[in-house]
């Protein structure tokens, strides 16, 4: 789909009154993150990368989101969200076992590892996991539907939407402190907010999005 917010870049506001120093620092650190070493096997990592591709495709015409690095960071830290479904193991174990099971499911259904499936085949495997209609024995101690809705989806989606490229693509104003917003009514926009593509508008959104300071 065509970009709804052409030339709008949340990051262009990094050095304006919309971003305090703390925000700049945490977002910089996030953008610089590479996948950590010493966590997940190569095979698990390939599977995860492919799962991420299918769940949250990269934005077009924007810097790519480093979702893999962020999710792997959480796995490496065995990060807790403050709750664990009693039928699932902790973050790291859940991911290790879940990725093995996704891979095994691909083998059962399509005779090859998940990372090597076509888009359609990969999506069919993911649909099966989502619905809990799985065949591989690796799921025996890991309910597929729960792994999907309590681990896979929230972790991947949270990582992707922590990135400025994803914020820009949805026309989100992004970080806002100390400067917030003035115009709160419908169809009103502060100059530092995203203009949406509108073929009826007198000037194209691209032009209006250049005043993002």
């Amino acid at each position: 789909m065509a970009d709804r917010f052409p030339d709008y870049h949340v990051l262009a506001k990094r050095d304006t009154a919309s971003w305090n120093a703390q925000t700049g620092a945490v977002v910089d650190a996030r953008l610089a993150k590479d996948p950590p070493e010493g966590v997940l096997s190569d095979r698990q990592r390939q599977t995860l990368a492919r799962v991420i591709d299918r769940i949250v495709p990269q934005p077009e015409h924007r810097p790519p989101v480093n979702t893999l690095a962020l999710v792997m960071g959480k796995i490496a830290a065995n990060g807790s969200d403050g709750f664990r479904h009693h039928q699932l193991p902790e973050t790291r174990r859940a991911w290790e076992r879940g990725l093995d099971a996704v891979d095994a499911e691909a083998c059962v259904r399509h005779g090859s590892g998940f990372a090597f499936l076509s888009d359609d085949q990969a999506d069919a495997v993911l649909c099966a996991v989502e619905k809990g209609e799985v065949e591989a024995p690796e799921w025996q101690d890991l309910p597929a539907g729960l792994f999907w809705s309590w681990r896979l989806i929230p972790d991947i989606v949270s990582a992707y939407y922590a990135h400025p490229s994803a914020w820009s693509a949805m026309g989100f104003g992004g970080p806002a402190s100390p400067r917030g917003y003035v115009r709160l009514q419908a169809n009103r926009r502060d100059p530092w907010e995203a203009a949406e593509r509108d073929d009826q508008a007198p000037s194209p959104a691209e032009a209006r999005n250049h005043h993002a300071e």
């Binding site: 305090n20 977002v27 709750f83 479904h85 009693h86 419908a186």
Partner: protein, 542 residues
């Protein structure tokens, strides 16, 4: 990586952080551990922080403990959903039951100031009849307090927080003017109003604990919309920036990064608290202990404190400690409109209808609910779409790109107390070496009927306001209560009408866990009102 305030004690050496000044300090009185202070308070949130202030101002010696960090919002808070997870209680907890609860960001804070540091600021009074749900409305249990007494304490809290609210409130007995004028409505709030008007019910601007005019060193709200990730401008009137500075001034000591693991008793009385701070277990002597850790940590601490005198946990002669856990229903209806709404601007909820808290006709269930306009941030919204609508892949990305045209209404609905919904201790341990709590929760038929009615009604309201492509988010809860219920009868409650445990005369509970029922409004104003009331009762009793 934990940030500096999460690793290094800030309160101590005669000073505590000045929350209004980057790098600033204010003086703090300190007490020796062998000194028997009048009150040791566990938790500094809506209950504990308010109480610490009121007791210190009454001249008592007070030490308040919090497992969380002592933030200076101006210097420590980013505008970022991920970074600000540092405000949540993310220690290990196990959830089960037929509707296992999602904890963490949703309902539990770990900060000096408690969950109010990242709460959404909605500041409502209970409907008077909801304090007597059993005798007036035929369900749940009665509170052992009178609504008129609560009304006086609501006045006090609303003034202490300078609540910004409407000129006249459409529901319930007359109340005075809110101290500060209401905030302007954003487009999302206007959609609530439009739908309510079309359906012929009342709505109003949401009374909020964020400033609509300057107050001391705090500036008014700038409508940045990151409220539930912590307010970096100090407009939000959290416990951290309201009651606690007052508490320090009045001579209370606050200990940050101090996790209380056990309350000691001797000859049937509490003698003090064992707590872990700076890597060592310590003991503070106290004449009275007040537990204010919220509805999971309060029963957990009392259960963990079991000893030979009280083998089933402290304050548990009724067997009800940890039981009757309640949340509130937080289901939503969403839709798409042609207008650019951009609901990320401003506090998430700027308009509300309490119609179904006050109207009992036309319901096939007990209890009440309110509903509010919404403004989810990107991660929260993406999780709603992915979880609630099953969107992923390009479908998710495309729907996210239409977020500026989404509008939604979210309920805060009453869950009834059931003994089988409860907090127990598991045999796993957390980073402190303490048993991890297990939280068991299932919705009942009454809740399912309320959800059906509320989501239908909110959906109709959106339809009447012109929203298309509507859908219902059926799986969300918020707020906690009930696990150390107050009551008139020691057989059916954990604490007495003064929030004092029936079993141990110098052990008290002051937080959301004393709620016998939760009503259909957000709880924090009521928790703070109860804390003020408790402080006055203590003055009379101690």
């Amino acid at each position: 990586m934990p940030s500096e305030p999460e690793q290094q004690l800030r309160a101590g050496g005669g000073r505590a952080p000045d929350v209004f000044t980057p790098g600033g300090w204010v003086p703090m009185r300190e007490y020796g551990e062998a000194e028997e202070v009048d009150f040791a308070i566990v938790g500094t949130g809506a209950g504990g922080g308010t109480l610490a202030c009121r007791l210190a101002e009454a001249g008592f010696s007070v030490v308040a403990f919090d497992a969380g960090a002592y933030w200076r919002p101006l210097e420590d808070f980013a505008s970022d959903e991920t970074e600000q997870q540092k405000l949540y209680w993310t220690d290990r907890r196990i959830v089960d039951g037929s509707h296992p609860l999602k904890m963490g960001s949703n309902n539990s804070g770990k900060s000096v100031g408690g969950s109010t540091v990242h709460f959404a600021m909605v500041s409502l009074r209970f409907r008077p009849e909801h304090f007597k749900a059993r005798s007036k409305l035929g369900y749940g249990v009665d509170w052992p307090v009178d609504w008129r007494e609560m009304w006086r304490y609501y006045d006090e809290v609303e003034d202490a927080l300078k609540i910004a609210g409407p000129v006249s409130y459409p529901w319930g007995p007359k109340r005075g003017r809110y101290p500060y004028r209401a905030h302007p409505m954003n487009a999302a709030a206007n959609y609530l109003a439009k739908g309510a008007d079309a359906l012929g019910i009342d709505w109003t601007e949401t009374p909020l604990a964020t400033l609509s005019a300057p107050r001391g060193k705090a500036h008014p709200c700038v409508y940045r919309g990151f409220c539930v990730t912590g307010c970096s401008t100090n407009a939000k009137q959290s416990v951290l920036v309201t009651w606690l500075p007052r508490a320090l001034k009045a001579g209370a000591e606050i200990r940050d990064l101090a996790m209380v693991g056990r309350i000691e008793t001797k000859n049937g009385r509490a003698t003090g608290v064992h707590y872990l701070r700076a890597g060592a277990w310590r003991f503070q002597k106290a004449k009275n202990v007040i537990v204010a850790g919220y509805a999971i940590e309060t029963p957990r601490l009392l259960l963990m404190s079991a000893n030979s005198e009280f083998p089933d946990g402290l304050a548990n002669s009724s067997g009800l400690l940890g039981r009757n856990l309640m949340v509130q229903l937080n289901q939503a209806a969403w839709g798409q409109v042609a207008d650019e709404v951009r609901s990320y601007k401003g506090p998430p909820s700027l308009a509300i209808s309490e119609h179904w808290n006050y109207e009992d006709r036309g319901k096939d269930y007990f209890g009440g609910w309110s509903y509010m306009s919404q403004g989810p941030l990107p991660i929260t919204w993406a999780k709603s779409l992915a979880g609630g609508r099953g969107l992923w892949g390009q479908a998710l990305i495309d729907e996210m790109a239409r977020n500026n045209h989404s509008v939604g209404l979210k309920m805060v609905g009453e869950v009834l107390p059931y003994e089988h919904n409860r907090v127990t201790l598991s045999d796993e341990t957390d980073q402190y070496g303490l048993p991890v709590p297990r939280i068991t929760f299932s919705l009942g038929e009454n809740e399912q009927a309320m959800i059906a009615h509320a989501t239908d009604f909110m959906d109709r309201s959106l339809e009447a306001a012109g929203a298309a492509e509507r859908w219902k988010e059926m799986d969300d809860t918020c707020h906690l209560g009930g696990t150390a219920r107050m009551g008139d009868d020691p057989a059916t409650s954990v604490v007495d009408p003064d929030c004092r445990s029936w079993d141990i005369p110098n052990l008290w509970v002051c937080d959301g866990s004393v709620f016998p029922t939760v009503g259909g409004v957000n709880p924090s104003l009521t928790i703070q009102a109860l804390a003020c009331r408790l402080a006055d009762r203590v003055k009379a009793l101690c």
